[in-house]
């Protein structure tokens, strides 16, 4: 996450992303959770490179506020904890001359976050309402694991259909979805297609209703964005698979020698955690 030229360019493009701009224009807690998780990742990268009290404070404050802004902010906590563990393991391998200097910050971080969540996170309310510690109102009771099931207003219909498809042709044919009952366009039933559509085109989801558009010119903009986003999506997808390929042998051998750096661990676990979260949510 260092301020390389490449990172600056990517940050510039991300800043123009219509999905993020759309979220920023709405009065919801989404902007807050994006901000606090981003701040935790940024402060974490800087802290694990060069620990200091100021960076620890920023990391801890952002880590505590992210889940309080929105429940899925919880996912950043395992990423930060994993980065702390990676730094401690690196210290035990002798890569760090002061191995104990990270124990107190780790314990302090965990205590502050636990107190903040214990005091303010509505675990109890959610448990009373949903019999779960989290708010889970998804109803996918009609979904089948291996084959398509009838769902009244389909999103995900089966695991293969949801996770093993990327319906780019359908996205180009139907750059916007409706929110009706009919399972058309099919991109709505494919997890990765839906994410891709929502991220690259503000009109894809046709939500809020005032953002709907059937203008040919507007749909053409969406089609162009979908095509132009493909090289970046392919590179990112290949990179995520490649990163998984570096972690799996390390985990299988339970080898500490080849563990990635704390900053790399932070990014990798955050990416894996949020992907796992949306897969779990989609299949819940």
């Amino acid at each position: 996450m260092r301020a390389t030229e490449q990172a600056r360019r990517v940050a510039f493009v991300v800043a123009l992303n219509p999905s993020l701009i759309g979220i920023g224009a709405q009065a919801t807690n989404d902007s807050f959770v994006i901000f606090f998780v981003s701040l935790a990742l940024f402060a974490g990268e800087r802290f694990f490179a060069h620990p200091s009290a100021a960076r620890w404070s920023l990391l801890t404050t952002a880590s505590a506020l992210a889940p309080l802004a929105k429940g899925n902010g919880l996912v950043v906590l395992p990423a930060v904890a994993a980065a702390f563990l990676a730094s401690l393991l690196a210290a035990r391998r002798g890569l760090d001359r002061q191995p104990r200097r990270l124990v107190s910050p780790f314990v302090g971080w965990a205590v502050v976050v636990a107190i903040a969540l214990g005091a303010f996170f509505p675990f109890g309310d959610h448990y009373r309402l949903f019999s779960l510690p989290f708010d889970d109102r998804a109803d996918a009771s009609g979904m089948r694991a291996a084959r398509d099931a009838f769902v009244v207003r389909p999103g995900v219909r089966s695991i293969p259909d949801a996770l093993l498809t990327f319906r780019v042709v359908d996205l180009l044919q139907h750059p916007t979805i409706d929110n009706g009952v009919a399972p058309i366009p099919l991109s709505r039933t494919s997890l990765w297609s839906t994410l891709y559509g929502r991220f690259h085109f503000s009109r894809y989801a046709s939500w809020p209703p005032s953002w709907q558009s059937k203008s040919g010119a507007v749909e053409a903009v969406g089609r162009i964005a979908f095509v132009l986003g493909l090289p970046a999506a392919a590179l990112l997808g290949a990179t995520i698979v490649g990163r998984a390929g570096t972690w799996l042998p390390t985990a299988a051998r339970q080898s500490r020698a080849a563990l990635p750096s704390p900053a790399t661990t932070l990014v990798d676990v955050a990416v894996a955690g949020y992907l796992a979260f949306i897969v779990a949510f989609a299949l819940a």
């Binding site: 490449q6 991300v14 701009i21 085109f201 010119a217 507007v218 964005a225 132009l228 990112l236 949306i278």
Partner: protein, 68 residues
């Protein structure tokens, strides 16, 4: 399946992408591919701008714009 469920990690995804693009550009074989991805992503930024501008124009209240 809303994108907000993964968007909190947008910085991590962006960092991974920037790192991958940088790594790709360091090899002679990958340089062309890196240029292709960079060019497509730059044009994508223009498409984003047009998308947001069109949305903003659509959302401007009718009585703010004469003759629309």
């Amino acid at each position: 399946m809303k994108d907000i469920f993964v968007l909190p990690a947008v910085l991590a995804f962006a960092a991974l992408f920037a790192q991958a693009l940088s790594t790709l550009g360091q090899s002679a074989r990958g340089r062309g591919l890196a240029r292709l991805v960079t060019a497509a992503t730059a044009l994508l930024a223009v498409a984003y701008l047009v998308d947001v501008a069109a949305l903003a124009w659509q959302l401007v209240p009718e009585d703010w714009v004469e003759g629309r």
